[in-house]
């Protein structure tokens, strides 16, 4: 092969691989961006998770063969799945669908401890003191749609409240007078994100046709008040002021003018 054909072949080869590689990478980039995916307990933040998970399915296997099997109407409920092409999660990675297969919050967290790569890790399933327990999982957070939640209509429900493994912590019931009838009470479910693990039991239990309570990944649903706003009545929250990073750049200078000259500038009062 002379130098020229060699160079030619080399150029063709590089062009072909770059083209093919770009197609695959484009598909991968598109596929990995599925922000509504719910991950098993102890999962790293999504961008780290997608790097670290080798898609082995050991977590799924551990979940499938867990001790606390849940059987509803004679059918065993599977929680974790590995995404196949066509599923609503990045291909090959573990996920669950809360409505049909919520996480049953096994005390021994078999899925997390089965993970060989650290994509699921006790570090993401612990409280401030470093104690690891399933109650500290942050798989997602539940959110209620008040327009379809029948408790907000004044009907008796509390299905989600009673299904919640973090009973009376993640969901509490608030009593309110029903002014429409004058003699009944609303029993409204109220969510407390700090206790919610995102297990999805409430979503599964919800009685409406399409669940009025749904689980979202925390980074999708939760907002952030930022450093400008502090709970002045909360000693702990006040500490945030010290670490505040937001710089105030717009400052209204102190006006030196007399209000009479200033505020009514250019106004001619009718006599």
């Amino acid at each position: 092969m002379d130098r020229r054909t060699f160079l030619n072949n080399l150029i063709q080869l590089s062009a072909a691989t770059t083209a093919a590689g770009a197609v695959v990478a484009g598909f991968a980039e598109e596929n990995k961006d599925k922000p509504l995916t719910l991950r098993p307990p102890g999962a790293l933040p999504e961008d780290e998770f997608i790097k670290t998970c080798i898609r082995c399915g050991l977590c799924v296997e551990a979940c499938k063969n867990r001790d606390n099997k849940m059987i509803v109407n004679g059918k065993e409920i599977d929680t974790l799945f590995l995404a196949a092409p066509g599923d609503k999660a990045p291909i090959g990675t573990p996920f669950f669908i809360a409505r049909t297969g919520p996480c049953f919050m096994c005390d021994d967290i078999p899925c997390m401890y089965a993970c060989p790569t650290g994509a699921l890790t006790p570090k993401e399933c612990q409280n401030d003191k470093g104690e690891v327990a399933i109650d500290y999982a942050k798989m997602g957070v539940a959110a209620i749609d008040p327009s379809s939640c029948i408790a907000f209509w004044g009907l008796q429900c509390t299905a989600c409240y009673r299904a919640c493994p973090e009973l009376d912590k993640a969901i509490t019931i608030e009593w309110k007078q029903n002014k429409r009838t004058g003699k009944h009470a609303y029993r409204i479910p109220v969510l407390h994100e700090e206790y919610c693990t995102g297990c999805g039991m409430c979503e599964m239990a919800c009685v409406t046709e399409k669940p009025a309570i749904k689980i979202f990944p925390r980074e999708v649903f939760l907002g952030k008040a930022g450093d400008r706003y502090v709970k002045g009545w909360d000693v702990k929250d006040q500490q945030r002021v010290k670490k505040a990073s937001t710089k105030t750049t717009t400052k209204t200078p102190w006006s030196k003018k007399n209000p009479i000259q200033n505020l009514n500038q250019g106004v001619n009062w009718n006599e």
Partner: protein, 280 residues
């Protein structure tokens, strides 16, 4: 009986491939702890980790923090294929080989072995370039890029976990191999196979050719999925098939009616001597 003997390696390979798939399935569905996971990572007897070296490389490029489990699993695989197996993964383990062998069989039966829509020669080295470019793109997108289309992962996950639209991908590979390019997927594209070819470059078990027995019938060339590895040796010299792309499938040994091929242990010093002798 003779027929079984004529296909002994083929039967063993299929047995090995199906057993592996079956064990993955059994692990998930019945909780057997023999072989859990799939071909990107598995645990043997619930203790020995096994890591797919190419998935490992991609994770490394993507910037993942690598766990000790993965490293141990990688070492086990490197030792096994590097010393013993060579590229045997492709013909004894990988389930995609079932599809591409089927496609090759269809090709032989329909006598269109030479009809390729693509020219095979130009893209012979494509897989190695593709291997590298997928690593670069893994770094760019921050995730193991090839794993999103890896049919090996699709196949094993499809068997052990959920199938979904996996079959579409596998059908595409079949059609590509049967009608577009001969041995197209495994012989030209698959970067996993390319990785195993590199890992197994210096392994011990190799096919040995005895020149004096060879009648130059061409059976081995017709069946070999990587027959460029045969050309430097067959009818030319007594030597091992050194080509790194040989998958140790043993098909050439089976189709050779003249006892000119056999599995043997490669000894490097002797191998080099042979080469010198034949060039003299």
């Amino acid at each position: 009986m003779n027929k079984i003997f004529k296909n002994r390696y083929l039967i063993l390979r299929r047995l090995s491939q199906f057993t592996i798939l079956f064990l993955y399935f059994a692990a998930n569905y019945w909780g057997w702890k023999i072989l859990i996971g799939n071909l990107s990572f598995s645990k043997l007897f619930n203790t020995i980790p096994l890591t797919d070296p190419y998935a490992f490389l991609q994770m490394l490029f993507a910037g993942a923090i690598i766990s000790s489990n993965l490293i141990i699993g990688l070492v086990v695989i490197l030792l096994f294929y590097g010393i013993i197996g060579g590229r045997a993964y492709c013909s004894w383990v990988c389930p995609v080989n079932l599809i591409t062998d089927l496609a090759a069989w269809v090709r032989r039966k329909t006598h269109h072995e030479k009809d390729n829509l693509l020219s095979a020669m130009k893209i012979k080295k494509f897989r190695y370039a593709f291997l590298v470019i997928m690593l670069i793109f893994s770094a760019v997108i921050g995730a193991a890029a090839y794993e999103f289309i890896n049919p090996i992962g699709f196949f094993t996950r499809g068997v052990a976990f959920t199938l979904g639209f996996t079959w579409v991908w596998l059908l595409v590979i079949f059609i590509f191999d049967a009608f577009v390019l001969k041995n197209g997927w495994c012989g030209h594209i698959c970067p996993v196979g390319a990785t195993y070819a590199l890992i197994g470059a210096k392994n011990l078990i190799r096919v040995y050719h005895t020149k004096d027995n060879c009648t130059n019938c061409g059976n081995c060339f017709a069946i070999c999925p990587e027959n460029q590895v045969l050309s430097p040796v067959i009818t030319k010299k007594d030597d091992f098939i050194h080509g790194i792309e040989c998958t140790n499938c043993g098909r050439c040994i089976e189709v050779c009616n003249d006892n000119a091929l056999k599995f043997s242990l490669r000894n490097f010093i002797k191998g080099e001597k042979n080469e010198k002798n034949s060039s003299n």
